[in-house]
């Protein structure tokens, strides 16, 4: 039922100074739904929210509100209200006048204003604060006033831009529950922006995971948690171990050097895949009989409710395990993973594929630099080529000037026995690298590729 979409976003794109902040984003929001836009900082979620609110005009695409394109409508005419990250309460007005601001502009009769403001204050548990100056309120109280100020206008959609980011942990948890309660009570559609995955899982009916301006996955909190569709989502939502694996056949997958039964089908036979194992889904026991594989406990930390342990498996992989019982470091343990706790994901890529041009017989120009390659037969200077480079053949160096190319570590995941890195070159190209060395996000690196690691084939126009 198309009519039931209160917000329908179609192919939205936005660039700032040549950088694509949002890239062809489409999703819809049902009436009364609590939708969360979730992603790390810089993923475009706030830009998306500000476009819905009307503060930024999209480059391409449409925002439909109840089927009507609102792209050209200024923010003050949109029947939406926003709760800002830093509240933006007017310091020259008291609590009452802050909340009444929108109603006074609409020339709502004074009596009606008073009734509605009082009702809102009650909703956010701030009765008797009417005459207080907003600067005398605590962060949590200011947040409540900001929510009341937005909701008092009965907007069709309430937009919330990381409203709890400035509060301390305890306060944040309390406010989460209250926001959920307010949503239930008012029945208004909420679009909520956050980088906190736990907050998103707690609050939302639907989560939209964003990274680098693109939607990664849309689903319910349980869908997103249990069946992440790629390694970014798996890594970003909750704790997880992501491992390289091979889909042997339907319902049978191999990883960490062992074969496991699983519930996934339709990948084909002997296809490389990514496997996600949540640490709470690994069964750990003192005996070896009945276990699928064994390992040695490396560390054990008490985390409040459970213990978090790192286990080195018999095949040399490191696995994170959570259990209510503690196992002494050094002890031998048996491990088991049930078929429906194994999440198999198609690999986005299995090697780097790069377009280039032959410079001469032993050199190829690609990624904005010249790389030496093995002597090539049948390729002449000027030929367009496609180079494939295995992840492990890309070498990272401490000093940018030592590399043929310079770049920055952009994203990394630990895959049990090695790291898988995304490196952004200075020209903005991406290279994926497998390495045993430890790098951090943001590290500046030099990049080299050994001549033997570059496989070239002529590419047709």
């Amino acid at each position: 039922m198309k009519q039931d979409y209160i917000i329908d976003i179609q192919h939205l794109s936005k660039s700032f100074g040549g950088v694509k902040v949002l890239d062809d984003v489409s999703f819809y929001v049902r009436r009364g739904e609590f939708v969360t836009l979730l992603g790390p900082s810089g993923c475009g979620k706030t830009t998306l929210l500000r476009q819905i609110a009307g503060f930024i005009a999209p480059d391409e695409g449409q925002i439909l509100l109840e089927g009507r394109d609102i792209s050209g409508i200024p923010p003050y005419q949109r029947p939406l209200n926003t709760v800002f990250q830093r509240y933006a309460l007017f310091p020259h007005l008291d609590v009452y006048d802050n909340i009444a601001f929108g109603l006074k502009l609409q020339k709502v009769p004074e009596k009606e204003i008073e009734k509605r403001v009082k009702k809102m204050l009650k909703l956010v548990s701030m009765t008797d604060y009417e005459d207080r100056s907003v600067e005398s309120l605590s962060g949590g109280q200011q947040q409540r006033v900001a929510i009341a100020r937005a909701l008092v206008n009965y907007p069709k959609v309430l937009l919330l831009d990381e409203p709890l980011a400035a509060l301390d942990l305890k306060m944040r948890k309390d406010m989460q529950l209250e926001i959920k309660e307010i949503h239930r009570e008012m029945g208004i559609t909420f679009i909520y922006v956050t980088h906190d995955q736990e907050e998103a899982l707690t609050l939302s009916d639907t989560i939209v995971v964003l990274n680098e301006g693109r939607i990664q996955q849309i689903g319910t909190p349980t869908d997103i948690y249990n069946e992440p569709c790629n390694s970014f989502v798996a890594d970003f939502i909750g704790e997880s171990t992501i491992l390289n694996g091979t889909m042997i056949r339907d319902r049978r997958v191999e990883f960490m050097g062992h074969g496991f039964d699983c519930v996934d089908e339709g990948f084909g036979e002997n296809v490389p895949v990514d496997v996600v194992v949540r640490p709470e889904d690994v069964y750990i026991m003192n005996r070896l009989e009945g276990a699928q594989f064994s390992g040695t406990v490396k560390s054990c930390i008490f985390k409040g409710v459970h213990y978090e342990m790192f286990v080195e498996t018999d095949t040399g992989y490191e696995l994170m395990v959570q259990d209510y019982n503690a196992f002494e470091p050094g002890s031998q343990v048996g491990l088991l993973i049930r078929p429906d706790d194994i999440q198999v994901m198609r690999k986005e890529r299995t090697c780097n594929t790069i377009e280039g041009i032959m410079a001469d017989e032993t050199h190829v120009e690609m990624l904005g630099a010249t790389f030496e390659c093995l002597p090539q037969e049948g390729l002449a200077a000027g030929d367009k080529v496609r180079a494939t480079v295995n992840f492990k053949d890309v070498e990272l160096l401490d000093h940018q000037e030592d590399g043929t190319l310079a770049g920055e570590v952009h994203f990394l995941i630990y895959k049990g026995n090695h790291y898988h890195l995304t490196v952004l070159t200075d020209d903005g190209d991406r290279l994926w690298v497998d390495t045993n060395d430890i790098w951090d996000k943001g590290d500046l690196v030099g990049i080299n590729i050994a001549p033997a690691g570059i496989k070239l084939e002529k590419c047709d126009e």
Partner: protein
């Protein structure tokens, strides 16, 4: 006395010699007659002298007019300068402030010459022009400062709640820039009450302001009456800055 606090001694001496002593002298002279006896005659003379009173009234009127003109012309200028869509360069800000680099007397003399060349009759119009020209940077700068530091999310929040750009300006921007306006008012109003050079040059002394009479009295060696007038002016400026200063203390000051 600790080592650090001894650093303040030169400033202390400076204050005593150039601020406190002259103030005491002004008070002493104001309440003495020519031969050094205590008297209230100087003060009562001011309040019974029609000329002095009307000059005083005129000075306040001119100062108010000047202040009002400075706000009317300066606020939009400051708003444009602080608006990132309209002005991205610090150079334009500097151009507005630059006249302050040149001595006010010189600028006033030059303005007077220009009016002469162009054949304007010197009078109240030229006087106000000169005053606005001299003092408007003092209005623009503090307002610009508060506007520039103002969080853009206030205006966005107001728009979000349904305020048109015009309503955003009157209901949010102007009230929030009040500290800047108050600073500007003090910095323009106070010196214009006591100015005499501008009225001398730009009206050929046709219009006399309060500062002019003080200067004339002192110049013709009527120190006691001059001191009494200076004291009265000081009290008025003190009162007005006290009232303004209280407002400022509430919301952070806008100056600098």
């Amino acid at each position: 006395m600790s080592k650090r606090s001894s650093w303040s001694i030169p400033y202390f001496i400076f204050m005593v010699v150039f601020v406190v002593l002259p103030l005491i002298l002004i008070v002493m002279y104001a309440f003495q007659d020519g031969s050094g006896h205590f008297t209230l005659a100087n003060v009562t003379r001011f309040f019974s002298d029609k000329d002095s009173l009307s000059t005083f009234a005129l000075s306040i009127e001119v100062a108010l007019e000047n202040t009002l003109l400075c706000i009317l012309l300066g606020y939009p200028a400051a708003w444009i300068l602080a608006n990132k869509d309209l002005n991205r360069s610090a150079v334009t800000v500097m151009l507005f402030i630059m006249p302050m680099w040149i001595n006010a007397l010189m600028r006033t003399l030059a303005t007077a010459e220009l009016f002469n060349v162009m054949g304007f009759t010197l009078g109240k119009g030229t006087l106000l022009f000169g005053m606005v020209y001299d003092y408007i940077p003092f209005m623009i700068y503090p307002i610009y400062n508060t506007l520039q530091k103002m969080d853009a999310s206030y205006a966005e929040a107001a728009q979000d709640l349904g305020a048109t750009p015009w309503q955003v300006f009157w209901k949010v921007t102007v009230p929030l820039s009040k500290p800047g306006i108050m600073s500007g008012v003090l910095m323009v109003f106070m010196p214009t009450v006591s100015t005499f050079a501008i009225s001398e040059f730009l009206t050929n002394n046709k219009i006399k302001l309060f500062g002019t009479i003080i200067q004339e009295n002192i110049n013709s060696s009527m120190w006691n009456y001059g001191a009494a007038l200076a004291l009265i002016m000081l009290i008025i400026i003190g009162l007005s800055s006290f009232l303004g200063g209280n407002e400022q203390a509430e919301a952070e000051g806008g100056l600098i």
